[in-house]
């Protein structure tokens, strides 16, 4: 499970960084989203990977670590809001600069 998890994170981050370097607003926003997925999964994994261990105290003898789950929830909400903002900004940049390059002056 650890290997699969690590590979998933690696592929997500790699794709994210690739898209980020495309320097066009839409791929950049998608790239940032992929990176934030990878980061959220990474944060979640920091409570160690288990199966069958609920993160609620007193239910079972051995419980999972609830804190990374709380952190990840916060991070998801913040990341979601930020992505929405970046998307709106990208649209406005497209409208005002008539160009989707992040510098606003690439090839159309």
């Amino acid at each position: 499970m650890e290997l699969l998890y690590a590979l998933t994170l690696g592929v997500l981050t790699m794709s994210g960084v690739y898209l980020l370097l495309r320097a066009r607003t839409f791929p950049v926003v998608v790239g940032l989203t992929l990176i934030s997925y990878a980061v959220n999964l990474f944060l979640f994994a920091m409570g160690r990977l288990h199966t069958g261990k609920p993160a609620v105290l007193g239910q079972v003898a051995e419980h999972g670590d609830p804190l990374p789950q709380a952190l990840v929830l916060t991070a998801i909400v913040i990341g979601f809001a930020m992505t929405a903002f970046a998307l709106v900004l990208a649209l406005r940049a497209q409208g005002e600069l008539e160009n989707d390059h992040v510098d606003g002056r690439g090839k159309r």
Binding site: L20, T25, V28, L32, I35, S36, V39, N40, F42, L43, A45, M46, G47, L67, P68, L71, T74, A75, I78, G79, A81, M82, T83, F85, A86, L89, A90, R92, A93, E96, L97, V102, D103, G104
Partner: protein, 507 residues
Amino acid sequence: MDHLAILPILLPMFAGALLLLSGRASEGFKRSLCLLATLLQLPLAIALMAQASGGLQVYAAGNWMPPFGIVLVVDHLAALLLLVTAVLAIAAVVYAVRGDDLLGANFHALFQFQLMGINGAFLTGDLFNLFVFFEILLIASYALLLHGTGSARIRSGLHYVLLNLFGSALFLIAIGTLYGVTGTLNLTDLSQRVAQLPAPDAPLVGAAAMLLLVVFGLKAAVFPLYFWLPKAYAAATPPVAALFAIMTKVGIYSILRIYTQVFGDTAGPLADLANGWLWPAALLTLVLGTIGALAASTLNGLISYLLVVSVGTLLAGLALDSHDALVGSLYYLIHSTWVCGALFLFAGIISRCRGPRFVGRLVPGPALSRPTLLSGLFFLAAISVIGLPPLSGFIGKLLLLRAAETGVAAGWLYSLLLGSGLVSIIAFSRAGSTLFWRTDPAAAAGGSVDNVRLVAVLALLLCSPLLVVFAGPLLDYLTITVDQLLDPQEYARQVLSMQINTSGGGH
């Protein structure tokens, strides 16, 4: 429990929410509410400063005890920075209510949320909470930066937003790694765990710590991560740019907090981890900022690059990592925040006087309406920000240079800091002579000077001589501040002892 510590966060939060709800209320109401909420920050900061002088104040949110609950810690440093923010914010709001707030929607609400993020970042004693407050101040700053119109603003805003989104991802990776290895995010608890870190875990924690340095370096605009700043700040409206003068200092504050308290002298295998990197980064920031200031073609650009120079200067003080150097850095931090804020507001007044065709561009423009007053103010601000006697910039630089003592480090710092001062004099003389003396008779006369805006600038500028007059008591305060910072064991004892104090009576 005393709830004073959380008020600097709650007050702007509720004021901001109320301002959002009263979207259709009259501008007068919104302006007075915003002004009132900002003015209240000042007595609050002073009260917290008085409280901090009596000892460390720890506020456990929801009465969950550290290290498990989230804590706010009011120490000397946090209280002082709250005061710096409050003074700057009051001047910015007073300036903004004269019309700059109408350039876009919801200026006042965003302003309050920005203050909430800044205050929270200074007060929090928890790494993840620091991330949350960073995001609050960032999302408010994104919207404030785009306040108004213009394609330059959109372009620089896009860079700013995308870079900071990536920075946030790095911040989370660092937080995740630290939590995964040490099992805590409370800063004081973290410092104790790091001190007793088993050797095999050290490289992983070290990597996380360096990632944090990248994130804070991006916020603080340190070389090579400062390229977003001059464009973004030069494009922002004057009150927003003035408030942003404290934003780079939030990055500096985080570097100071993390690398003295968590990865400082007591951090075992990771002691003084960042110092080797901070020193060259600081000097390069100083040099490149100075070159940028010389090459700037607008007044706003010039001031933005001076902000970069001040970041380099501050960081050099942090990298020297001695008691005196930290005292000097903190003094310089207060000075540069207020004076750079005043300069941004002043540049707004000048742009307005010169009319929309010339704004702050450093080319001969129309004759100004009150040249003696404006050029006098410009002269004072320039003297202060460059660091010439008798104003506060001089004392700040003097303290830093004295702290460098002798040796190779002193050689570098003396030559670069004084050289940067000289080049800044040239840049300012050029800018001043173009703005005030080389007038273009053919140009149409610009607008007049607004007195309320002028008062905002004057009030901030007046802080510079005040910093000189009250340098004695201030330096005493800063000495205690740095003592507290450099003694993480005593700090941790006070924060974590809360558990025992209130475990019976907590409710």
